[in-house]
Amino acid sequence: MTDYSAIIETETDPGAPSKSTLWKRFWKNPLAMFEGAIGAPRLQFAAMDTWFSTAGAVGSYVFAYGAADTAFGATVAGSTLLPTSAARSIPVGTSTSGATFNAGAALSGTWRCMGTFDLTAAFGSGGSMAGATLWMRIA
């Protein structure tokens, strides 16, 4: 990792000598900042773009279900994904019929599976559960 070495005000004052050590810091300090060197200034939140907070943008996450079992790290087209909810609790013994959460509109772009998606899993005697997991848009 490149070391960070601060440039002080007087080194850049009119008449100050243009030393090799100063130019090396002009060159290496940006590298040290990008590498996260100790003592180097950090990129502040206000300097960042807001792409990651726009729903559906590249880099954003969605909790959704797909059209087929998908392994951790695999990618799918957005048209196969529908945003949905997770169950917080399942009442036991109160109903024999199933229930399904609402789903949003199918997505755009390409998404990477950040969990493991199982379309369905056997549940009880003859029933099945439907899966959903976390996805990240990568393109």
Binding site: G56, T75, A77, G78, S79, S108, G109, T110, I138, A139
Partner: protein, 65 residues
């Protein structure tokens, strides 16, 4: 512009297409004229110009309950 191939309309009028992304290589991509990402809208226009294949409904899953 990135290379694209095999455009196919989705059920809702968007276009599923394979795109050769510089960072990822070939990926399945859903192109949307209303995508929040500008490149998604551009890919939709390019895919539409290629004359996408019509949408075909998926076959019934014989194993479905």
């Amino acid at each position: 512009m990135m290379q694209i191939r095999n455009p196919v309309f989705t059920a809702d009028g968007r276009i599923d297409v394979e795109v050769d992304f510089p960072s990822w290589g070939w990926l399945l991509f859903t192109a949307d004229p209303n995508d929040v990402a500008p490149h998604g809208r551009e890919i939709f226009a390019a895919a539409l110009a290629m004359g996408p294949a019509p949408y075909t409904a998926p076959a019934e899953d014989a194993g479905a309950a």
